[in-house]
């Protein structure tokens, strides 16, 4: 049985196109110091440091924990670097939690980041693998055909993605840390934006951001040493499946369904739409909201888009299950941190510390991340209640 652990501190940088004023190390340290301040702690209170980011080729720093040791106060401590594709921010949170849940450590610092202004993600994702089919499209080109298949199967109207893109930017306008600040966005403006990878328009895509997100995770016995309410970690799960295999369900991957079932069982979630107060779900392209609503069991197969169109996932429309109140990946995307931001924002909600994008009275929330060809999944359930 896992030891009980909780998030006791969260720190994020402001997400923006370019943070030219800080180095990569400076960016991480900014988030780490904020998380420690939030937890009322210093570097000396930390037993181990766990970092995560997307491929090293983005910034061109090989195995960056080696360079980041000093900036994160890790000298003389264990330091681990997780890498599981786009889900890495979530996976890193889970690996960090396991340091405490295993009883091995009492309090750990975890930080994820991407400094996209010092990198070229499209290039790094498109470098040829020997003996493998060459993908020269980046993520949008990869996911567009899968989205089209969802539209065909579900019969969803063409503007569901447009609605998601608008809704998440309106959420983002409530979050001062969000990269895109588009309080005046309308569905008409999204629809008018250029088509990038049909059916994904420019404004239906995530931005490229610089940023870092950090959390302090503590054993139950030390939670009271931090001043703010904790977010208890009630369930943790990861799943992986291959990128391609005969008969693979790419619209609603089995790995996502299995991961959700696992984490729900741990946290006692039987009806996700009712049992969660909100969710932070990895939606880098607009149409992934209805697709994940179904994959995660918030809606029946083929009906996810109806929740979106009814406003059920919108804070501004008083929806019953707001998704991505922080603005989500569509508003900020420092790739390696994006998953952890979902996990951290879920924790902020149940700590009652989400500012203008707080869901009133939120007790239980889902954090979700996915990566690769929608084949790697990481999820956690956090709650104001110990359980």
């Amino acid at each position: 049985m896992a030891n009980l652990a909780a998030v006791v501190g969260i720190g994020q940088t402001k997400y923006q196109t370019r943070r030219g004023d800080v180095s990569i190390a400076g960016l991480l340290r900014e988030a780490a110091v904020k998380a420690l301040e939030d937890a009322g702690l210093g570097f000396d209170d930390i037993d181990a440091v766990i970092i995560g980011k997307a491929p090293d080729m983005f910034e061109g720093v090989v195995m960056p924990e080696i360079y980041l040791t000093d900036a994160l106060g890790a000298n003389g401590k264990p330091m681990l670097r997780v890498h599981t594709a786009g889900s890495v921010g979530g996976s890193t949170a889970l690996v960090a939690a396991s340091h405490v849940q295993s009883g091995t450590f009492k309090r750990v610092l975890t930080v994820t980041f991407e400094k996209q202004s010092e990198s070229n993600a499209m290039w790094a994702l498109s470098s040829p693998h020997p003996f493998s089919p060459h993908l020269n499209a980046g993520a949008g080109g990869y996911f567009a055909p899968i989205i089209r298949e969802y539209m065909r199967r579900s019969g969803a109207p063409y503007d569901v993605g447009i609605k998601v893109a608008t809704k998440d930017r309106l959420h983002g306008a409530r979050n001062p840390l969000a990269h895109l600040q588009l309080p005046d966005i309308t569905m008409a403006k999204v629809e008018e934006s250029p088509m990038l990878w049909d059916p994904i328009r420019f404004l239906e895509s995530c931005p490229s951001s610089d940023g870092a997100c950090a959390m302090v995770i503590a054993d139950a016995s030390l939670v009271s040493e931090s001043p703010k309410p904790p977010a208890w970690i009630r369930g943790v799960a990861m799943r992986s499946e291959p990128t391609m295999y005969a008969g693979r369900e790419e619209v609603s991957p089995q790995a996502g369904r299995d991961c959700a079932a696992d984490v729900y069982a741990q946290a006692g979630i039987t009806n996700p739409r009712k049992d969660f107060d909100c969710a932070e779900v990895y939606v880098p392209f607009s149409w992934y909201e209805p697709m994940w609503l179904e994959n995660l069991g918030f809606a029946e197969e083929g009906k996810g888009w109806k929740l979106t169109m009814e406003g059920a996932t919108s804070l501004d429309e008083n929806g019953d299950i707001p998704w991505n109140c922080s603005g989500g990946v569509l508003s900020s995307n420092p790739i390696g941190a994006s998953g952890m931001i979902r996990f951290a924002e879920a924790a902020r909600q149940v700590r009652g510390d989400a500012g203008a994008h707080q869901v009133e009275g939120a007790r239980t929330a889902l954090g979700h991340a996915y990566g690769g060809g929608a084949q790697f999944f990481a999820m956690w359930v956090v709650s104001a209640d110990k359980g």
Binding site: M1, A2, N3, S23, P55, D56, M57, G60, V61, V62, M63, E65, I66, Y67, L68, T69, D70, A74, N75, G76, K77, P78, M79, L80, R81, V82, H83, T84, A85, S91, V95, S98, H99, Q101, S102, G103, T104, A124, L125, S127, P128, H129, P130, F131, S132, A237, M238, R239, S240, E241, P242, T243, Y245, P253, Q254, D258, C259, G372, Q375, F376
Partner: protein, 353 residues
């Protein structure tokens, strides 16, 4: 905390160039072999899988994604990855077992270093603003460390050559997977020219392609499977400052710290497998680990006999575990390292049941 057992280990031959073999083809034989020795057939038969690799070796992002193709991950599996030596993947798997979310795990590491110039590639581990643009390669940094040791009189060049001679001899006697092996005299080695002074070519580990894999589980599960096993009685890792000027390069403080936490000195160490990519680093590490003449160091030849970058750390642990599983020894330690001049070190103590 639960006692954790290693039940099987497999490693490929260390070869200078695996040619047209891709990562999946490097991984599959060792996974099949490690699973088979544990009486299992696919990754479906364990509760968790974790791997270690580095994209920069092959020169394309997401090496580990292709690795998943070697696992038979249909239906989906619980799987994770560290961009580190697979010894740290083992560490992640141990945490997963300790927290009760898995009773068994498959761990593997792989590296295909042949497509690039490994020492130069690894120069990009350095601070990206002040050091990496200088392209200081790992051999040059290690040479600086060796020079400091010679200058301080903590070793002589003959001590370095003795490490190499023993590595070659042990590899010849005990290690069918070794890339470099043979009988060579210290005098012969010292007669060779220096490469990056004071290092001679033979003071540096070779560049190798290959993979290794391991199956671990709770002691209860190992008994249920009816397999002999080695118990992990202690494991810890520590990192040091990246600022080489702020470290005493003739010592390895992080190894000393990890050894203390892992409990190295709680009993006699019969065998130590040490990840020392350069001959002088074995001297630093045996001192940091507090090893004396009663310990057989690197019976496999260590990484001077073949260095599967990203798998070598796991292989050190596997080498010791296999000796315990075979009943040859009762207690040993394994060491893994990462970063320039031994910046990050992991120590594992293994014991017979």
């Amino acid at each position: 905390m639960k006692d954790i057992a290693i039940v099987s280990f497999a490693q490929s031959d260390c070869v200078r160039n695996a040619g047209a073999k891709n990562e999946v083809e490097l991984i599959m034989p060792v996974i099949k072999s490690a699973l088979g020795a544990a009486g299992l057939s696919t990754a479906q038969d364990v509760d968790f899988t974790c791997s270690g690799s580095c994209d920069y070796q092959q020169g394309a992002a997401f090496a580990f994604v292709l690795g998943v193709d070697a696992l038979g991950a249909v239906p989906p599996i619980k799987e994770s990855h560290v961009e580190m030596d697979a010894a740290w993947a083992l560490y992640e798997a141990i945490l997963k077992i300790r927290m009760g979310h898995a009773d068994s795990a498959l761990v593997y590491g792989f590296g295909k270093s042949s497509p690039g110039e490994l020492p130069t590639v690894l120069s990009q581990q350095l601070d990206p603003y002040y050091l990496a643009p200088l392209w200081v390669d790992t051999v040059s940094l290690a040479a600086m460390q060796a020079r400091m040791m010679l200058d301080q009189g903590v070793m002589e060049e003959a001590d370095m050559a003795a490490v190499v001679a023993r590595s070659r001899r042990n590899a010849l006697a005990n290690n069918p997977h070794a890339q470099l092996k043979g009988e060579v005299a210290v005098e012969q080695l010292l007669a060779e020219e220096t490469w990056v002074s004071p290092l001679r070519k033979h003071d540096c580990c070779p560049v190798s392609d290959g993979a290794s894999a391991m199956v671990l589980c709770t002691v209860e599960k190992a008994r249920e499977w009816g397999k002999p096993y080695a118990v992990i009685s202690g494991i810890d890792h520590r990192i040091e400052t990246h600022n080489l000027g702020a470290r005493d390069l003739t010592r390895s403080v992080s190894t000393e710290q990890a050894a203390a936490v892992a409990g190295v000195s709680d009993g006699a160490i019969e065998v130590a497998e040490i990840y020392a990519p350069y001959s002088h680093q074995e001297i630093i590490l045996t001192r940091a680990l507090g090893l004396g003449s009663e310990t057989v160091v690197n019976p496999s030849g260590g990484v001077l006999a073949g260095n599967l970058m990203m798998a070598s750390g796991l292989s050190r642990i596997g080498e010791v575990a296999q000796r315990i599983i075979n009943g040859d020894i009762k207690r040993g330690l394994a060491h893994a390292t990462s970063g320039p001049c031994l910046q990050h070190n992991l120590v594992t103590v293994l014991e017979a049941a």
